[in-house]
């Protein structure tokens, strides 16, 4: 569990800090961060990650576009993706699922909710380092 490296993507510094602190409190100390989709791709290519947690609305490249990029890329296509976003209407969730995110959290999230979703995803998939 401690070996799993997370990539946290959100244009809000506040949100990145909160998610990262939650992950560390849950026993996931290896976390890198990015401020938008483009930055996330650069981090994936240079540092790798076994699990991506991403926001939706971001400049440069949003979370949905990032997800599609990851799924189209053979090297990263099986990396688990958890979307954490303020967008909570049904159409948005459907669109994210069609883009093949593994699960979806509507902000504000709780530590218990984050833990539950991560565990659900890890049970369902075999995370592969990118």
């Amino acid at each position: 569990m401690a070996d799993l490296k997370f990539l946290v993507v959100d244009d809000s510094l506040t949100m990145r800090r909160i998610v990262i602190n939650s992950l560390k409190a849950q026993g996931y100390p290896q976390v890198i961060e990015a401020a938008d989709g483009k930055d996330a791709i650069a981090k994936l290519l240079s540092e790798g990650a076994g699990f991506v947690i991403t926001d939706w609305n971001m400049p440069e490249m949003n979370g949905l576009e990032l997800t599609k990029w990851i799924r189209l890329n053979e090297q990263y296509e099986n990396v688990p993706i958890l979307m954490i976003t303020t967008r909570g209407n049904k159409d948005d969730v459907m669109e994210a699922m069609k883009a093949r995110v593994n699960n979806y959290i509507v902000k504000p999230f709780t530590p218990a909710g984050l833990k539950e979703k991560i565990e659900q995803i890890l049970k369902a998939v075999e995370p592969k380092a990118a």
């Binding site: 244009d11 400049p59 909570g88």
Partner: protein, 216 residues
Amino acid sequence: MDNNRNSANEDDNEVGMIKDFIAHVRGIVPMLEHVKDSIAESSGRIPKASLQLSEVTTATESATVEILNVLEAMTTSIGQGETELKAVRTFVEHNNGTSESVQALQSIAAVEKILSETKDNSMNIAIALQVQDITSQQIAGVSHTIESIRTQLAKALQRFDDPKGADGGVGNAETESSPGLAPATHFDGEAQFTKSPDRQDVADEIVKQWAQGTSR
């Protein structure tokens, strides 16, 4: 002769009405000028309002990060306290059997509980600070709206000055953005800060259906 007199009276009435109408229209012109000046002054204030809203977001993010820094320091200190306490517990357990050691273990347990609750509370504070991200998106939505209004007002002012200009209509203000204004895709203007689980429940249901293949 009576017919001619009646016809002349009607003509006089019509001329009078036309003169009144012209005078009325002339009276409207200064009013329209006043309206135009008011629009110009009001729309001129909007960029400053947008900037002030942006500064609110920057300030609250800065303050929130400071609070998170303090919370992280607290969590680190609590962790150190828990480690020291474990060492004390180990020492006392090695010298167990006396009534003093029993009391000491009880005190240690009580302190461990307090530290654990304090750690949870500091995490809860950190989680509540998500309000900053959510409100910043709401503020971005407001900025976007008032900038759209400014664009519409600017087009209305153009029509005052050039009624037969190339842009005869108000156009689509939604597609235009002022310099420095975040595009609509960069934020969720309908973001909500709520503790109700309803929105997450909706998302969970869709994810569940998707996993089961029923919503494909």
